[in-house]
Amino acid sequence: MLAEEEIVYARPKALSGVHTHYCPGCTHGVAHRLVAEVIDELGIAGQTIGVAPVGCAVFAYNYFDLDFAEAAHGRAPAMATGIKRVLPEHVVFTYQGDGDMAAIGLSEITHAAARGENLTVIFINNAIYGMTGGQMAPTSLPGQKTTSSPLGRDIETTGMPLHMAEMLAGIPGSAYVVRRSLHNVKEINRAKKAIRRAFQVQLAGWGFALVELLSSCPTNWGLSATGALHWVATHMLPAYPLGDYKVRPEVEALR
């Protein structure tokens, strides 16, 4: 018999009941929620250890109700490797932004993938440094104005953006590497499925799994919340095509 009131939407158990410091309109909160929902659904909260980055998600350990480590800037994949190697039965994930992963931590993420390290990586790409106040990231778009490229990113002197998903997919050790976006409901649902798969890959012991999530940064882009989501669609999607860049055959079979 149905109760008159039924809870159809609640905070995932894997999230703590605290307010986040994220700006209004930022998609970090969506990404956190998706990760927490997947952890709840897989029933792995008690065996999961997260590794937070330096960047806007530096306080992720406050927002997840999980054992958590807070890494040095860019070193989350190395720290996660240390944890996973001594606790192979546990689930270990990193949550990193584009400055953390694609700039200062490029070596650590690349070699974690090269070793086929059995980790899940959530990669937030919002084309800018958020926490330090809007500087150019390796993922900033050509011509994008930031506080450290005030006239727009000049590709003559700073090169072209790094495409992390494509790059890491080319490494034999990676098992599952995809790019999704958080700019609308349909893509959010697709992102959740990918995150779920990235954790399942680790549970199966198949190696390195990464989900790149195109995200918004209204504060540092100087846009409204909805304007920022629109900018993801109009500017980031053409530069960072969504898709599955590496899906090993055994991962394909996962549902």
């Binding site: 008690g46 065996q47 054992d67 190395a78 240390g82 650590e108």
Partner: protein
């Protein structure tokens, strides 16, 4: 167990394994590489973790991760690699997770060379990375002492939740001499887990979550945490001072040196005694905590100190601070990978004794 002919680097590796080491992460660099190579052979055969990292930066952060789970973990390197690890060491110290680091020092600065030197005293003993912290620093002079100190290092790291350095040099690392290895301690393995420390990351099943972090955003919290750390370092200074001394009671001059420089200086002191010079010898074994109180006592009975180091004069500053100007503290050093001969030090002893002493 009987004495065997052992190489310093391999002996330290085996001592760590016998102390219950569960994971080793490292990167090749001369003159410590045999330590990593010994781990590469032994750890897998014992079903423990060995991983060659892509850099010293990665290695120390792997150590940080493994240490956060409360297992016994270590890395090893040599001077340039130790420099690269300093950021991670600051994080580890600030997170209060235990680990052991062996630094087999070589000639510097820069790429320098692969010969024995002691130029890392400042960066290792004075905290190294950013912020206010200390590591326990143990400086062996022989292969046997390198074994014994490495074996003890893990207990100290866990007792105080600090980084413990075994600070040695290319001479001790490469030297082969008779030494005895300690017994193998039981290690955690599946089905026989050691009880995890109360703070360790092992998954939050059935308990509140644990967080390993070094961030204290509010300055007041940051200061409170720093005061707690400093109290711990003062406690270490109370309980963990280690030194070796010889013939200091009637000495007019006491020669002070650590590690290999100390070992060479001890030979010079014995030669000086043999010709009737009243010369004593003092070798700090713990560089942090530095044996300040004992040196202060000796300053009341001797007329001067001569500090011998394989650097431009680093530990000498701590001797001067301990002595507080009561007697002169002079320095003799060789740099850039040069190990002094005993007769150079003996000549320096004789020169100093011939000088007027302004106490």
């Amino acid at each position: 167990m009987a004495k065997e002919l052992l190489k310093g680097n391999e002996a330290m590796a085996e001592a760590a394994i016998r102390a219950g080491l569960q994971a080793y992460f490292g990167y090749p660099i001369t003159p410590q590489t045999e330590l990593l190579e010994h781990m590469a052979r032994r750890m897998p055969e014992l079903n423990r973790v060995f991983l060659q990292a892509e850099s010293e930066v990665a290695a120390i952060n792997m150590v940080y991760g493994a240490a956060s789970t409360g297992v016994r973990v270590m890395t090893s390197s040599s001077s340039p690699g130790a420099s690269l690890m300093m950021e991670g060491i600051s994080y580890i110290a600030a997170s209060e997770v235990p680990c052991v680091i062996v630094d087999v020092m070589r000639g510097g600065p820069g790429l320098g060379n692969i010969a024995p030197a002691q130029g890392d005293y400042f960066q290792v003993v004075k905290g190294g990375g950013h912020g206010d912290f200390r590591s326990i620093v143990l400086a062996p002079a022989t292969v046997q002492e390198a074994i014994d100190l490495t074996y003890q290092a893990f207990d100290l790291a866990e007792r105080y939740r600090v980084v413990v350095f075994v600070l040695t040099d290319g001479n001790v690392g490469q030297l082969m001499e008779p030494a005895e290895l300690p017994p193998m301690r039981p290690v955690e393995r599946p089905g026989r887990e050691r009880r995890a420390p109360a703070w360790a990351l092992r998954g939050a099943a059935g308990r509140p979550k644990h967080v390993i972090s070094s961030i204290y955003l509010q300055p007041e919290n940051g200061e409170a945490f720093n005061l707690k750390l400093q109290a711990k370092f003062r406690e270490i200074e109370q309980h963990e001072v280690r030194y070796h001394e010889h013939a200091v009671a009637d000495a007019d001059l006491i020669v002070v040196g650590f590690g290999t420089a100390g070992r060479v200086a001890q030979t010079a002191v014995k030669q000086a005694r043999a010709v009737g010079k009243r010369v004593g010898f003092f070798r700090p074994i713990s560089l942090f905590p530095f044996p300040k109180p004992r040196l202060a006592e000796l300053a009341a009975t001797t007329r001067e100190f001569l500090v011998v180091e394989m650097n431009s004069g680093q530990m000498v500053e701590d001797v001067r601070l301990a002595v507080e100007g009561r007697v002169p503290v002079r320095f003799f050093g060789r740099m850039g990978g040069v190990v002094p001969y005993p007769d150079e030090i003996l000549a320096e002893i004789e020169r100093q004794l011939g000088q007027p002493v302004y106490a």
